[in-house]
Amino acid sequence: MTTEPLATSPKRRVRNFALLSNRAGATFLTPAGLLVSIFVIVPFFWVIFVSFTNRTLLGRTALNPEFVGLANYLSLFDPATFFQRGQFGFSLILTTQFVLASALVGQALLGLLLAWLIQTVPPWIKRITETFVIAAWILPEVVIGFAWFAFLDRDAGTLNMLLTSIGLPEGDFLLQQPFWVIVVFNTWRGAAFSMMLFNSAFSSIPPSYFQAADVAGASSWQKFRDIGLPLIRGHIVTDLILITMWTFNTFTPFLLTNGGPSYRTELVSIYNYRVAFQDFQFGKGAAVAVIMMLINLAFALVYLSIGRKKTAPRT
């Protein structure tokens, strides 16, 4: 959908001859189809179904769950407690802010900036920067959780050591700005993906586009705004869809803050984990998952409609 060739060819081919016959295509799809059916589609419908029951893991309703209609959804949206800390509404708003700040502004924008920057810098700087950014992305999350914990430690953490050494006051980040900590953390963790994607996208633009602008007298910023950015719009949509989804579902900040202090970093994914796996209320947990999917869907539709012109489905 997003990789239309940048060439100016008017042809967008629809064929009834296909490189793969439908039969061969079906064969190719079989392994993935089976796996996805069993491990994605079936659980998906199970979740939908369970979200209408009061199934729990322990206790009386473990064995004999009852159909409760929309009760799980209503309890999530109970206006009396909705906005309280540790409740669904609070998590939801928090998560939305988190996604906007860390996925859209953080990962996507920083990724874009990095991708643009490393187009022009000397190769060795490019390689080093890339390596660290990607390291943040590929290291296992438990490990990352610890590293950050140590990084932010108030008494002897790397960050505070740095701040003091340049004469700035120390910060008690985890306690005072927990939200911004997880925003920065998630940005740090995920920027690599956007960077790599945009990097590929930029390098698929013929260099003559930029040179033509150079000769026409455009500055670096003008080139970025007028040429680079519009041409990778499709890739931006792909990127946003993926990182939004990932950020909505991310659980890693839990390792850093445990959802606290006082639920101030309890993202929906963490809330959901608590409901499903600490309180063992699967019905309610499933309802949370369904709502999250709907929100993801809404985000995806918004991105697609913004990027539509460049992303008309290629058939």
């Binding site: 997003t2 990789t3 490189l19 793969l20 016959s21 439908n22 061969a24 295509g25 079906a26 190719f28 799809l29 993935a32 796996l35 996805v36 069993i38 491990f39 994605v40 589609i41 079936v42 659980p43 979740v47 920057l117 490393i118 810098v121 080093i128 890339e130 390596t131 660290f132 950014v133 590929i138 290291l139 296992p140 999350e141 490990v143 990352i144 610890f146 590293a147 140590a150 002897a156 953490g157 790397t158 960050l159 740090w188 790599m196 590929s200 792909t238 993926l242 994914s269 959901n272 499903a276 796996f277 699967f282 947990g285 949370v288 369904v290 999250m292 999917m293 995806a300 489905p313 290629r314």
Partner: protein, 276 residues
């Protein structure tokens, strides 16, 4: 090269900014350079005094944790092979055949998978695996990961394949190759960088993931490192930082090695196939 002052300044500013961001990304990892070699637990950044390999000795002595690394490897490798193969075939089919309704499939699956990746879906997955009699086997973990990662892998890979001219395979077929020959001889090598992205991505995901192996595995000889790392928690439920740091370092090496290897060997790109 001679440059005017503003141009030179611009270049330096760009390079400095890029380097600065790189350093900022490296800082949180700095701790790992020191902590594993420190005899005393320090959350702070401290040069170990004295340096010690004692932590590693203890970690190596934990046969459960060592076995777990191997288990992680089996599961990640198995999952990656399955995801890589199935996603490649499927994405190729979605891009190149004219199966009806293929347009929206990847989007829909992506949304489905967003639900299934949460904790709520662990129960049905557990039930499926246990009714298939696969509990506590590597294959259970491998299959489940493959299923869960496939939608995203297909989404990314299909984008990649869509960007590759069809005339490669067309010319192969006109030359007399069957669709399968064309796929293996021509298409597969060309989409390899995309597959490599998927491979690294899914390896990293499986390597670091806790919930699925934890739900599906039981015996200690099957548990992966992401679970085993919790054995470096004390009886009181708190982490033993020194050992943890040492283990984390060992635990991180394979993914870094994998990334360096593939990006050196195959390149690591999302679009555009082999540079033609």
């Amino acid at each position: 090269m001679k440059l005017t002052f503003p141009a030179l300044f611009g270049r330096i500013a760009f390079s400095a900014l890029a380097a600065l961001i790189g350093i900022a990304f490296a800082l949180p990892l700095l701790w790992f350079v020191f902590a594993p070699f420190n005899a005393r637990a320090e959350l702070g950044l401290a040069v170990p005094d004295p340096w010690t390999l004692g932590n590693f000795m203890t970690v190596f002595g934990n046969s459960f944790a060592m076995q777990a690394l191997w288990n992680s490897f089996i599961q990640a490798a198995g999952g990656v092979i399955l995801v890589g193969a199935a996603a490649t075939l499927a994405a190729y089919a979605l891009s190149r055949s004219s199966i009806p309704g293929k347009g929206a499939v990847t989007y829909i699956l992506l949304l489905f998978s967003s639900v299934v990746s949460g904790s709520a879906a662990m129960v049905p997955i557990f039930l499926i695996i246990s009714s298939a009699g696969l509990m506590d086997t590597h294959i259970a973990v491998i299959l489940t990961f493959a299923g869960g990662l496939l939608p995203t892998a297909m989404f990314i890979l299909r984008d990649f394949i869509d960007g590759i001219p069809k005339s490669y395979e067309e010319s192969a077929m006109v030359a007399g190759a069957s669709p399968v020959q064309a796929f293996f001889d021509v298409a597969l090598p060309v989409i390899r960088p995309g597959i490599v992205v998927i491979v690294v991505w899914s390896f990293v995901n499986i390597w670091g993931s806790f919930l699925i192996p934890f739900i599906l595995l039981r015996s200690s000889q099957n548990m992966p490192a992401s679970v085993a790392i919790y054995s470096f928690y004390s009886e009181a439920g708190t982490p033993v930082v020194t050992l943890l740091a040492a283990y984390a370092l060992i635990y991180s090496l394979p993914v870094v090695a994998l990334y360096l290897f593939v990006s050196w060997k195959f390149g690591f790109r999302f679009f555009g196939g082999i540079k033609a």
